[in-house]
């Protein structure tokens, strides 16, 4: 319980820090944001009016507090380009990013588990070397390179899936494969390492000596103790997943938060950039906190030593 409260508190501090950073982002825009919005030739009266409307005349700390308290009630301002509420735009796109991230995670686990397990069982063999090479390549292939390769092969040559967009259930396959493969490469390495560690332990040797079959040993003696470190790795990679979604969504024209962020940057729609970056980062903090809490729940030792 103490651990959970400490974890929630530190998450709250981080969320405040993130809000400050995101708030300051807009103040990094070179020159006066008013110039950027209205152009340098705008009349002074218009500039003053806009400055007041945007609250830019108040001290920085006050502006930040307004930003945070408004954001807490779901008010993230109005998109400059479309005139729509930022929160409404985000709400439209969020389900797409969530679906893509989940599908990519499923792809990653579906590839990494068998690959990592086989590599660990046949450590040093041909299969291990192949899996190692595959995961090395997978870690080095960026989404914006893998995506086009998948498009050429599976959309243009074979015609199995659409080139992009989000029409129909098939559209998610290629983006999820793209986003999931990089993660799969990393996970396979980690799963291999975690399993190797457990395989070397005495209780596994004892089980082998008792004449248990390899599958039973894996199920009862290897996977359960390896599950925790693997969960940690999955949690740590959620960030790469969400960050990678930004580029993957752009490659495939998948209408999620990442694509929205890139569009907002290209249109210099500052409130929308703030909103998307804030929402993606805060979701990441929330997910990470959940993984940590889950971890503490699964590993009773943590609850006792937590300082």
């Amino acid at each position: 319980m103490r651990l959970a409260i400490a974890r929630l508190l530190s998450a709250a501090v981080v969320v405040l820090g993130v809000s400050a950073a995101v708030f300051l982002l807009v103040h990094l825009v070179p020159g006066d944001p008013i110039d950027a919005l209205l152009g340098e030739a705008a009349a002074n009266a218009d500039r003053g009016a806009l400055r007041q409307a945007l609250g830019l005349d108040a001290p920085l700390a006050v502006q930040w507090w307004r930003f945070v308290s408004a954001a807490a009630t779901g008010d993230l301002g109005t998109s400059l380009g479309t005139g729509r509420l930022v929160a409404a735009l985000l709400a439209e796109r969020l389900p797409y990013t969530a679906a893509l991230a989940l599908a990519a995670l499923a792809v990653a686990l579906a590839i990494a588990f068998p690959l990592g397990t086989l590599a660990a069982l046949r450590a040093g063999g041909v299969l291990d070397a192949l899996a190692g090479t595959a995961s090395m390549l997978g870690a080095a292939l960026p989404n914006f390179l893998l995506g086009p390769i998948f498009i050429i092969v599976f959309a243009l040559w074979l015609g199995w899936f659409p080139i992009g967009g989000a029409e129909g259930p098939r559209a998610i396959v290629l983006p999820a494969l793209t986003l999931g493969s990089g993660l799969a490469a990393l996970l396979a390495r980690m799963i291999r390492a975690a399993l190797l560690e457990v395989l070397a332990e005495e209780h596994v040797r004892a089980a082998r000596a008792r004449g248990l079959g390899p599958l039973a040993i894996l199920r009862h003696h290897v996977f359960p103790p390896a599950a925790l470190p693997i969960l940690t790795v999955v949690g740590a990679q959620l960030g790469a997943l969400l960050g990678g979604a930004v580029i993957t969504e752009t490659v495939f024209g998948w209408p999620g938060l990442g694509q929205l962020a890139v569009e907002a940057i290209q249109r210099r729609d500052y409130p929308l950039v703030q909103g998307t970056v804030l929402v993606i980062s805060v979701s990441y903090v929330v997910l990470n906190t959940l993984v940590d809490l889950l971890y503490a729940r699964l590993d009773p030792r943590l609850e006792n030593d937590a300082g």
Partner: protein, 268 residues
């Protein structure tokens, strides 16, 4: 992972070193990366032009070699800034301890809360395109890795006998950190720097893929991949060169990192 055969590490070092040499010599190589040939739009690979030509008839090989300059040098700069700032930050907060350490850790947590390259995307989006801004944006993303590592390592060194003795003898904090702590924590930091180099090259390519990095007509690997992906139907050959360049550099540098890690027995 298991120790790789030495031959592999040597090969990877040669590939990474080759790209580094091309990056450094780039501006003096007799290349014409922006020369347009309107009679050779999308020309496929030939003996004279092994990687073919792009949508403006420019030589993909020339653009690739010239682009190495920006991609690799930006990455080296970013890693240098990040290592310098991150290491100093991490060592100092660990050495001071207490409230300073606590605040420093929350600052690091805040930077880590931005998933992947999102912070770099947001920053360079706000700062505007251009290589200088790319360096700032990517450094803001990568310094934390060094800071975290330097902090943990310094904490472990703080209570070592030789450090305590130096302290008791009245050596200044700066001298202790520089002479008695830094040399002992340099190996893991160098390994981190190697992996960071690969990560930053990828991130830089990602930013230029999004149009936030180098600006046309300057060649950069990420932008070449973006251009290529618009013409996948017409000229799939356009993606091969920049794709392989990026891949070979990143794989080689990562393998080099693995090699160094095994050799120095650094745990990650």
């Amino acid at each position: 992972m298991r120790a790789r055969p030495r031959a592999g590490t040597v090969l990877c070092a040669a590939i990474a070193g080759g790209w580094l040499a091309i990056a450094l010599l780039g501006p003096w190589l007799p290349l014409a990366p922006t020369a347009v040939d309107l009679y050779a739009l999308f020309a496929g690979p030939t003996l004279a032009e092994p990687l073919g030509r792009d949508d403006l008839g420019r030589s993909i090989l020339a653009r690739l070699l010239a682009g190495a300059h920006d991609s690799v040098l930006v990455a080296l700069l970013v890693v240098a800034f990040s290592a310098l700032f991150g290491t100093t930050f991490g060592m100092l907060i660990a050495w001071r301890g207490g409230l300073v350490d606590l605040i420093g850790m929350r600052v690091m947590d805040t930077f880590l809360a931005f998933p992947g390259i999102l912070l770099a995307i947001g920053l360079s989006g706000m700062l505007g395109p251009g290589l200088g801004n790319v360096v700032i944006a990517l450094s803001a993303m990568s310094w934390v890795g060094f800071a975290r590592l330097a902090r943990v390592q310094t904490l472990a060194m703080k209570t070592r006998d030789h450090v305590m003795v130096a302290r008791a003898l009245g050596t200044t904090d700066a001298a202790i950190l520089r002479r008695h702590v830094l040399p002992l924590i340099a190996a893991p930091l160098l390994v981190e720097a190697t992996f960071a180099l690969a990560g930053v090259v990828l991130a830089e390519a990602g930013l230029s893929y999004l149009g936030l990095g180098a600006q046309p007509p300057a060649p950069s690997w990420g932008m070449m991949i973006r251009d290529a992906s618009q013409f996948l139907l017409v000229a799939p050959h356009m993606v091969v060169g920049p794709g392989l360049a990026l891949l070979s550099f990143v794989v080689a540098v990562n393998a080099l990192g693995d090699g160094l890690r095994d050799r120095w027995q650094v745990q990650r």
